[in-house]
């Protein structure tokens, strides 16, 4: 009995898109999108700038509405399930001079649960725990403007975690950060993936292959690939031009290629 319900839970579709079509005024951004994301998935949304990655995330949040087609998150229209979603927007949109502390930002994740925006002790505990999860516990009192790019990303992820989400949506979490920081970030996401579904948008495909389970390729159309299938041919299709794939399972030395 118990196993059955667990199995049911495992196969539950977190996100379902059926024949979704979206256009800003007259320019088509997404057409004929069919997509299902299962619980526990770690999906990377890749594609060129302006290909529709952020639009796809905003559709899932109910910030934008499809012109036609059906869209469900946790089996309901997205507006009704927003509370179960933790969202990290692109960090370039933030004013770095804004006078706000790390803790204040993370607590914003609790706003939906407060009356008139007053935070309880429990809210603060959840915020502290979220900061611990992204290894930022010691920086709660720091000013947002004093942080590095990678730290700001992690604060915004902590804010999304503070919503106690079942689905985590991240828009370009790796933009403008160092490769080492990026790797650390993926370690964090990998451990979070044990208890929540993750979808993240990124414009580079190279590195995701390691921890990501499937890749959603977005450039007007949407195609899903398991990570192992991602070949040069597919990437060429997504980007519409000749690009080289970087293989991360591969080391170069002065003598030649180790893995060949």
């Amino acid at each position: 009995m118990r196993n059955n319900s667990l199995l049911e839970k495992m196969n539950q579709h977190v996100v379902v898109l059926k024949d979704v079509f979206f256009a800003y005024n007259s320019s088509t951004v997404l057409e004929n999108v069919n997509l299902t994301i299962k619980e526990g998935e770690f999906a990377s949304i890749v594609g060129p700038n302006g290909g529709g990655k952020s639009t796809l995330l905003k559709l899932l949040l109910g910030l934008l509405h499809p012109n036609s087609g059906e869209l469900q998150v946790f089996g309901k229209p997205p507006e009704k399930t927003r509370r179960r979603i933790g969202y990290m927007p692109q960090h370039a949109q933030f004013d770095v001079q804004f006078p706000v502390t790390v803790m204040e930002i993370v607590l914003m994740g609790r706003l939906g649960y407060t009356l008139g925006g007053r935070y309880s002790k429990k809210d603060r505990l959840i915020a502290e725990r979220s900061l611990e999860e992204v290894n930022m516990a010691g920086l709660a009192k720091r000013s947002f403007s004093d942080l590095s790019g990678g730290q700001r990303q992690r604060v915004l992820i902590a804010r999304a975690l503070c919503c106690e989400p079942d689905l985590l949506l991240l828009d370009e979490p790796t933009a403008n950060i160092d490769p080492e920081v990026e790797e650390a970030l993926f370690e964090i996401l990998k451990s979070l993936n044990k208890r929540m579904t993750i979808m993240l948008a990124t414009h580079d495909v190279g590195f995701v292959s390691q921890s990501v389970k499937s890749v959603i390729c977005v450039n007007r159309c949407v195609v899903v690939h398991p990570t192992s299938e991602l070949s040069g041919e597919i990437i060429k299709d997504i980007y519409g031009g000749e690009v080289c794939m970087i293989r991360h399972d591969h080391r170069c030395s002065a003598e030649g290629h180790e893995n060949d």
């Binding site: 949040l61 910030l63 927003r82 509370r83 979603i85 969202y87 927007p89 933030f94 004013d95 001079q97 804004f98 006078p99 706000v100 502390t101 204040e104 930002i105 607590l107 914003m108 994740g109 609790r110 706003l111 939906g112 407060t114 008139g116 925006g117 007053r118 935070y119 000013s143 403007s145 804010r159 919503c163």
Partner: protein
């Protein structure tokens, strides 16, 4: 300066005392609302609202003198037009993102033009420069009470909704996703901004009101790590600018509004330059 202090206590100079009280008390609203305007980056919207206020003043004059409703003072027209402008501009910036700047630019100029047309249509001569550039001689006891009322309202709203307004200014979209009526709070903020502008038009005038709204907050922002710190400092800076501006304009026989703005502007440039130099030195030494 001593001359100014003597003038302040001179029983014949009641107007100067009222001006000082209004300048001091209005700094509370100005510092707090100015902080929101600067951090939410809506000084352009505030500029449009202040020019729409002139349309309301013109309409008020017309209604009072030409239509003959004598109790309808220009200030009532100003309040109505300011609130209307705040709501329209708020809705435009929420829902018409692509053409936002065009619409707001148009409202800016149309508001001003409507005011001038109304003044033309009203018989008699009116010195509109006092509305455009401020005139402390026009400030009455009634203005003082209105400023007190506005201060209480602004302080109450910004304390009660501190966390929500912080979230709406920092990331409105996210606040909305968490179930906050972020659009409504944004328009509330614009309405408070418009009321603040109306009351302060007396001191510095429509054209310069934006500077007195943003400069104290911008200076305060250089020294603040929290939003409330920025508000407190902005209030203090606004008071200092008003006092020194009024004192200087009185002793040098200059217009008070422009003097206040020049002092605020010079302070802002000085603070920005010093903080740049300070950061350079700090970077080099570390």
């Amino acid at each position: 300066m001593i001359e100014f202090v003597n003038a302040f206590f001179d029983p014949d100079n009641a107007f100067l005392r009222i001006a000082i009280y209004v300048a001091t008390l209005s700094s509370i609203s100005f510092g707090i609302i100015g902080t929101y305007v600067v951090t939410r980056r809506i000084s352009y919207l505030a500029g449009a609202i202040s020019h729409c206020v002139f349309g309301g003043i013109g309409a008020g004059l017309y209604i009072q003198k030409e239509v003959g409703i004598s109790w309808f003072e220009p200030m009532y027209g100003a309040v109505i037009s300011a609130i209307m402008a705040a709501i329209i501009i708020g809705l435009v910036s929420l829902y018409a993102r692509q053409r936002e700047d065009t619409v707001i630019g148009a409202l800016w100029a149309v508001g001003m033009a409507a005011g001038l047309i109304f003044v033309d249509l009203t018989p008699g001569y009116f010195d509109i420069t006092s509305y455009l550039f401020g005139d402390i001689l026009l400030i009455s006891m009634k203005d003082l009470w209105m400023v007190v009322f506005l201060d209480v309202l602004v302080v109450a709203v910004s304390i009660y909704f501190y966390n929500i307004l912080l979230a709406v200014c920092f990331d409105q979209e996210f606040a909305g996703l968490r179930g906050v009526y972020s659009g409504a709070f944004y328009i509330l903020l614009l309405c408070l901004t418009s009321l603040t502008i109306v009351l302060l038009v007396r001191v510095v005038g429509i054209v310069m009101v934006i500077a007195l709204l943003t400069l104290p907050a911008a200076v305060a922002g250089q020294f603040s790590r929290r939003l409330w710190q920025m508000m407190v400092l902005a209030v203090i800076f606004c008071m200092i600018f008003n006092w020194t501006g009024l004192a200087l304009s009185y002793s040098l026989n200059l217009s008070s509004g422009p003097t206040i703005i020049i002092i605020a502007g010079i302070t802002y440039i000085a603070v920005i330059s010093f903080s740049r130099i300070f950061h350079r030195i700090k970077q080099k030494s570390s």
